[in-house]
């Protein structure tokens, strides 16, 4: 190695003259997603009208929860248990290759009992006792429908408005449109969990929370259930927080000198981002430490709440995130794909998710946050009202995917509490009344956030894209509070 000649300057060194380097950094905005407290990058005019929902928590139930067993009991199915679903209902519609070749499609009614609950009289399966307690805070849509019959395209459609990967997700659109309200945490956070038995096969693709063609900073930041909650959050071994502070102060001073040389605004942004990274290193551990939660609150979320990576843990994390300024939290819970193990797995799945979901709504309500926080609970589709496999085998049968009519619920954030909207037919197969397409749901969510989906577009490759795509979509005004 050749030493570099010191030919540019001669100087005397000052010993121990380290001035206390503190960077009086101004609160520099536009760190994660737009300037805190101001509209997002999407520009002027947003929100289009005052939002009812300032924050959104999407409890994505991945795999396709059975609407028949949980919310959509039908007398006809009960009467015809084991009888063939009429051809007039099936209409030769396409099924997945898993049951397309199954010659017999016998009716399978709700398998675990259930009853009407609350003042709304919403029928809820007995597998969801905690959800049943709060039906009068929830707004059910029993007539949601889409076209996609397989997981990845259906989830992609539900979360990005298009069945192929590559479009911005709902959370990216919202943070792009509305900006952020925190400079210590990401505006859009994603957390994943799975059923304990790990029976299901769906993966989580990063385009489920991607930014598509929007700038990359709008993509959801995955918080992880193990290791660092955010990738690369922890300093390397042997580097303490004060060591990092000292390094960052000098780095900022050096970058400032570089700015004086190049006058490149990107350098100022870089200085701010390193500072924000440092803040995140403190705020995230505080976020994930539940020590300050009283037992009564922990109890709302059920016994799993302290288990990192569990759905219950993530539900409480969601509340803590929105309290700290994160605007969009997307939970992805896998395990609802009961093709052949409905009798054994559906109860497990409900047990893991029912109390935390209901607990989150209760907790938000107690804190007065439910009013302007929209909670959405639902899968990418429902499940067939006919059986997959052998109905006589007590333990091993199930239901196939079913996007033609299924149920989700929403709470808070400007939706009518205790409402039931739409109805499926007597077989819980087709929508009978007040259809709500996936696009309509998306238009409605944007509306609740103060955004007119028709006017919220982004120019890409010469085209104006919007979340709801090119087909007509309508805001479901009937469910607005």
């Amino acid at each position: 190695m050749n030493a570099t000649p010191l030919d540019h300057f001669h100087r005397r060194r000052f010993l121990g003259a380290t001035a206390g380097l503190t960077l009086g950094l101004p609160a520099i905005g536009s760190l994660l997603a737009g300037e805190p407290g101001r509209g997002g990058e999407a520009g002027a005019g947003l929100p289009h009208f005052p939002p009812k929902a300032k924050r959104v928590i999407y409890l994505m139930q991945s795999g396709g929860p059975s609407h028949v067993d949980l919310f959509d009991d039908k007398e006809t199915l009960r009467e015809r248990r084991g009888e063939e679903l009429p051809e007039s209902v099936l209409q030769g519609l396409r099924q997945t290759t898993m049951t397309a070749g199954q010659s017999s499609k016998p009716c399978l009614p709700a398998a675990f009992g259930g009853r009407r609950r609350g003042e709304s009289g919403m029928w809820v399966g007995d597998l969801l006792p905690h959800t049943a307690e709060i039906v009068d805070d929830l707004c059910f849509i029993r007539s949601l429908h889409g076209e996609q019959i397989n997981h990845a395209p259906a989830v992609t459609q539900m979360l990005t408005g298009h069945n192929q990967p590559g479009r911005p997700s709902l959370g990216a659109w919202l943070t792009y449109g509305l900006g952020s309200t925190t400079d210590e945490l990401p505006s859009f956070v994603v957390m994943t969990s799975k059923d304990r038995e790990n029976t299901c096969g769906q993966l989580f693709y990063d385009y489920y929370w991607g930014a598509g063609f929007l700038p990359g900073k709008y993509q959801g930041v995955p918080f992880r259930g193990a290791g660092d909650p955010v990738l690369y959050l922890s300093n390397p071994a042997g580097v303490a927080r004060e060591d990092r502070r000292a390094t960052l102060d000098r780095l900022a001073a050096l970058n400032q000198l570089a700015h004086d040389r190049y006058h490149d605004p990107a350098i100022e942004t870089r200085i701010a981002q390193y500072e924000m990274a440092f803040k995140m290193q403190a705020s995230v551990p505080d976020l994930v430490d539940f020590a300050d939660e009283p037992q009564s609150v922990l109890d709302l979320y059920g016994p799993d709440v302290q288990r990192k990576g569990s759905y219950a843990h993530n539900c409480l994390m969601a509340r803590r995130l929105i309290e700290r300024g994160t605007q969009y939290v997307q939970l992805m819970h896998a395990g609802w794909d009961q093709h052949g193990n409905l009798p054994t797995q559906l109860p497990n799945q409900c047990r893991d998710t029912d109390q935390p979901s209901a607990g989150l709504v209760k907790d938000l309500k107690l804190r007065g946050l439910l009013e302007d926080t929209l909670v959405i609970w639902g899968g990418e589709f429902g499940r067939t009202p006919y059986v997959q496999g052998d109905i006589t085998n007590k333990n091993a049968h199930g239901r196939d995917h079913h996007p033609r009519a299924f149920t989700i619920w929403m709470a808070g954030g400007g939706v009518k509490p205790g409402a039931i909207y739409g109805r499926s037919d007597e077989f819980a197969f087709h929508v009978a009344e007040n259809p709500v397409h996936v696009r309509d749901l998306q238009a409605t969510v944007l509306h609740l956030c103060g955004i007119d989906h028709e006017r919220f577009t982004h120019r890409h490759q010469g085209l104006d894209f919007k979340l709801t795509g090119v087909e007509p979509a309508r805001v479901v005004r009937e469910i607005l509070a």
Partner: protein, 867 residues
């Protein structure tokens, strides 16, 4: 189905030569340009309803064709034109665009442009990108001897901008090196270059350009960009995200750039290598077949319930769209469902292209699965690919594979020979379970197999359910268990050997069939039959040519195609300057950006074609311009005068691609492995990332040794979750030609905390300490520190630190020394990061202190930016 629009479309009409002006421009009034001024307004606000797509046309009015639009204006009395009345109306029921269209209103300035344009005769011009580039005259400009500089300077003069001087030589070499080989020059290379540059700048610079273009790392750098275009990845994506072995195609790309394969050949071989006659007329070479993996790099859906026919349509869509974006700079995806709203691309054009890409005997799902240890002894990985594919086995490997396969066959036959012996007891065994269900749980462990006890047809041993039951039975019986085990052993041996031999998915037209337009892009609703062909608005295929992929490939690079050369030179300009001449490299259509320097773009395109599509020559032409060599050290006024550096008055400074940042850190620290090619590697990644995304199915097993230090190009790219320490990179799910450059705290966390950078810092620190120990840095203790930090700063930035900067660094060093001396345990922990061995003879506290300084330097804005 909707009727096709008349074939005589926009361009044919609009391309009619501009006739003598019917109106007259007022004296001294600047002429309004249709392309520059008017069409962008019409295209953005009007064409959606009054454009090319007949299905969405309102009031039977189209404004994209002059003859049809004439009725809405009056050249003699512009103010009486209905067009003007409508776009300036206050009446919400009359105004255009109507409020319901949610288009921005026409501003008074825009209306005035349109009024003047009408007054000047309302002339149309053909869309610039759809007419072939002509070699423009190079302007004669004093002091601009290079044609590029003449074009740039002409514009600078118009913008009243003064160009900055040349970059300091070391920074210039750093810029050039990062651009051409994706690696920074060493300090020794920079000082040598400084010396040579002092003697003769142009000769020194020219020699450096030639040296870098000849470097084997040149091909790696160029391939990195092309892999993004080609959505290359090492897995299939979707549900199972199985591993594929298309990496020999990646090596083919590196080799093609290194040997400077002309870009027309590069294009033809990738799109249609399988249709080439080969060097001796006996068929394509293996390399030419491998090249066609370009259009097999798309995702493959192996999801359980997915429908093959639907998948096949989607794969063909992907090939059409990737090919169009990569070579034509057109976004044709809209035409999957309907005629394009803005560009003259009909739905039939889309499916005419698709008919060239769907003639393969491919399964729609996975046709070959295997699971085996990788060559470096890593645990089993699940592979899955779709035919057609070629095996890249050597002769010896093929022979060995045949032997292993024969062993599998023999083992299977040995068991089959026993069928008459195991058949009856098997049937009895099942019937016992049917009679007594409690036996099921006793005998069977698999849920699936338990479920099929009642249904498996016992008279059909090949039935899927029966086969699974039979397997359970044989494994339970000591008479046949060894035979089953022998089969498994033989199969495992075959599979693990197979895993060492890459199988590359390629194109092959071995299932000719008809193509139908798909209504709304849905495979279930085929419409009219479509013949293979190229979009009608572009020049036709040569008379008599069979409309296949080979004809398409040749047509793209025939030189008559108005788009390809422009699209390609635009992307290379983007690679060198960080921004493209056409700001929308993926859209040269009517909604795309206009070129900032149209003549320069055309000059480069014509040069490129006339040079024989010589990529190295194109790059050399560009980097030898003054525009490329300017300094980025300019004052605030110069930045404010052109914040985006759109006119190139100063050096193009921007943050490096995150993959180059990683390679740089490895290079500067001395860790980088120079090895070219081979199977992908799995360098450091935080534990659990794949597992979390795949619900535990995909296990990440980190590489060891050299695999941790290879260039980023070779990092294993799992499509479901890409490499975690890259940022702003395309997802490699679809074709990507635009550069993303965002800045978030997550990037800072990556560069500060990822093992890659910490390890690089500590290894670099050891080298610097070794230098100090060996007396390479002169002077006393303090001067040694100062000299060493100067060296390090120079290595990372191409610039020597100012006194203030050196002070900050030596202060940081002194601070760190104090901290580590107080807590040596921290030093030990820091020095244990990463797998590179540590030189135990170095003082741990000292090395740790230097490590923290090196990590700081690697994070300097200038270290992660192109100077």
């Amino acid at each position: 189905m909707p009727k096709s629009p008349p074939l005589v479309c926009l361009v044919l009409l609009a391309a009619a030569p501009v006739t003598a002006s019917r109106g007259s421009a007022g004296a001294g009034e600047e002429r309004v340009s249709f392309n520059r001024d008017v069409r962008p307004i019409l295209s953005d606000r009007c064409y959606y309803c009054h454009g090319f797509d007949p299905n969405h046309r309102e009031a039977d009015l189209r404004l994209d064709v002059r003859e049809e639009a004439e009725r809405v204006w009056n050249v003699e009395a512009p103010d009486e034109s209905e067009l003007l009345a409508r776009i300036t109306s206050d009446d919400e029921y009359l105004v255009m665009p109507p409020p319901a269209a949610h288009k921005p209103a026409i501003t008074p300035a825009e209306a005035d442009l349109i009024r003047r344009w009408i007054a000047q005769g309302a002339e149309y011009e053909p869309h610039w990108a759809f007419t072939p580039p002509q070699r423009p005259d190079v302007p004669r400009i004093d002091g601009a001897s290079h044609p590029i500089d003449a074009f740039i300077q002409r514009r600078l003069t118009r913008q009243e901008l003064r160009p900055a001087g040349p970059a300091p030589p070391a920074q210039l070499l750093r810029r050039l090196s990062l651009d051409l080989i994706g690696l920074p020059p060493s300090p020794a290379e920079m000082t040598a270059f400084e010396d040579a540059y002092r003697a003769n700048p142009d000769a020194a610079y020219g020699a450096a350009v030639d040296r870098l273009l000849a470097s084997p790392h040149f091909g790696e750098r160029m391939a990195s960009e092309w892999l993004d275009v080609a959505r290359y990845a090492d897995t299939n994506g979707f549900q199972q995200d199985l591993v594929r072995t298309n990496w020999p195609w990646r090596d083919w790309v590196v080799g093609a750039f290194n040997e400077n394969k002309p870009f027309d050949e590069f294009t033809i071989e990738q799109l249609a290598g399988d249709l080439l006659p080969g060097p001796d007329g006996t068929g394509p070479t293996t390399d030419q077949l491998v090249a066609t993996a370009f259009n097999r790099n798309h995702m493959i859906n192996g999801e359980g319930g997915s429908i093959a026919e639907e998948n096949l349509a989607k794969y063909a869509f992907d090939r059409v769209e990737t090919t169009s974006t990569a070579f034509l700079g057109l976004t044709v995806g809209c035409a999957q469902c309907h005629d394009h709203k803005f560009d003259p691309i009909r739905q039939a054009d889309y499916y005419g292209l698709m008919a060239m890409f769907n003639q393969m005997d491919e399964p729609g799902g996975i046709s070959k699965r295997w699971s085996a240890e990788a060559a470096d002894g890593q645990p089993a990985e699940s592979y899955g690919i779709a035919k057609p594919f070629v095996s890249l086995a050597s002769e010896a490997q093929a022979a060995r594979l045949a032997d292993l396969h024969a062993e599998v066959t023999a083992a299977r036959q040995a068991l089959d020979a026993e069928e008459s012996n195991y058949g009856p007891p098997f049937v009895a065994w099942v019937e016992e379970m049917r009679a007594d269900e409690s036996l099921i749980a006793e005998r069977l462990t698999s849920d699936y197999v338990s479920r099929v006890v009642g249904t498996a047809p016992l008279d059909d041993l090949n039935h899927g359910e029966t086969r699974r039951l039979l397997a359970a039975f044989l494994d339970s019986d000591p008479r046949w268990k060894p035979l089953r085990a022998a089969i498994r052993t033989a199969e495992d041996a075959e599979e693990s050997y197979q895993a060492r031999i890459p199988l590359v998915m390629v194109m092959r037209d071995d299932r000719p069939h008809d193509t139908f337009l798909l209504e709304r892009g849905n495979y279930e609703t085929p419409g009219a039959q479509v013949a293979p062909g190229v979009p009608a608005f572009l020049p036709p295929l040569p008379e008599g040519a069979e409309a296949d992929r080979l004809a398409l490939a040749r047509w793209l690079v025939s030189g008559k195609n108005p788009l390809t050369a422009r699209v390609i030179v635009n992307r290379y300009w983007q690679l060198l300057f960080g921004r493209a001449l056409v700001d929308t490299p993926d859209d040269f259509g009517l909604q795309g950006a206009l070129p900032s320097h149209p003549d320069l773009l055309d000059w480069l395109a014509v040069e490129f074609v006339e040079s024989g599509w010589d990529v190295k020559r194109l790059l050399k032409t560009i980097v030898t311009s003054d525009a490329y060599r300017r300094t980025a050290q300019v004052d605030a006024n110069q930045v404010a005068a052109d914040p985006e550096n759109r006119w190139y008055a100063r050096g193009a400074r921007h943050r490096l691609d995150s993959r180059i940042i990683r390679d740089s850190a490895l290079a500067i620290s001395g860790l980088l492995s120079p090895t070219l090619g081979g199977p992908p590697v799995k360098p450091y990644q935080p534990p659990g990332v794949w597992e979390e995304m795949s619900l535990g199915k995909n296990k990440f097993v980190q590489s060891t040794g050299e695999g941790l230090r290879r260039r980023s190009l070779y990092t294993f790219w799992r499509r479901v979750v890409g490499p975690t320490n890259f940022f702003d990179t395309p997802a490699r799910q679809v074709c990507a030609v635009t550069t993303l450059r965002t800045s978030t705290p997550l990037h800072a966390l990556t560069l500060l905390n990822d093992t890659t950078y910490t390890e690089a810092a500590r290894v670099w620190a050891a080298t610097l300490l070794g230098g100090i120990r060996d007396g390479q840095f002169d002077g006393s203790q303090f001067d040694e520190d100062c000299s060493a930090v100067t060296h390090a700063f120079f290595a990372a930035t191409g610039r020597r630190p100012s006194e203030a900067e050196a002070d900050l660094l030596t202060d940081a060093l002194a601070d760190a020394r104090t901290r580590f001396a107080a807590e040596p345990v921290k030093a030990a922990a820091l020095l244990a990061v990463g797998e590179a061995p540590r030189d135990e003879s170095l003082d741990a506290n000292e090395q740790a202190a230097w490590t923290s300084v090196c990590l700081l330097i690697l994070n300097l804005d200038e270290a992660i930016s192109k100077p």
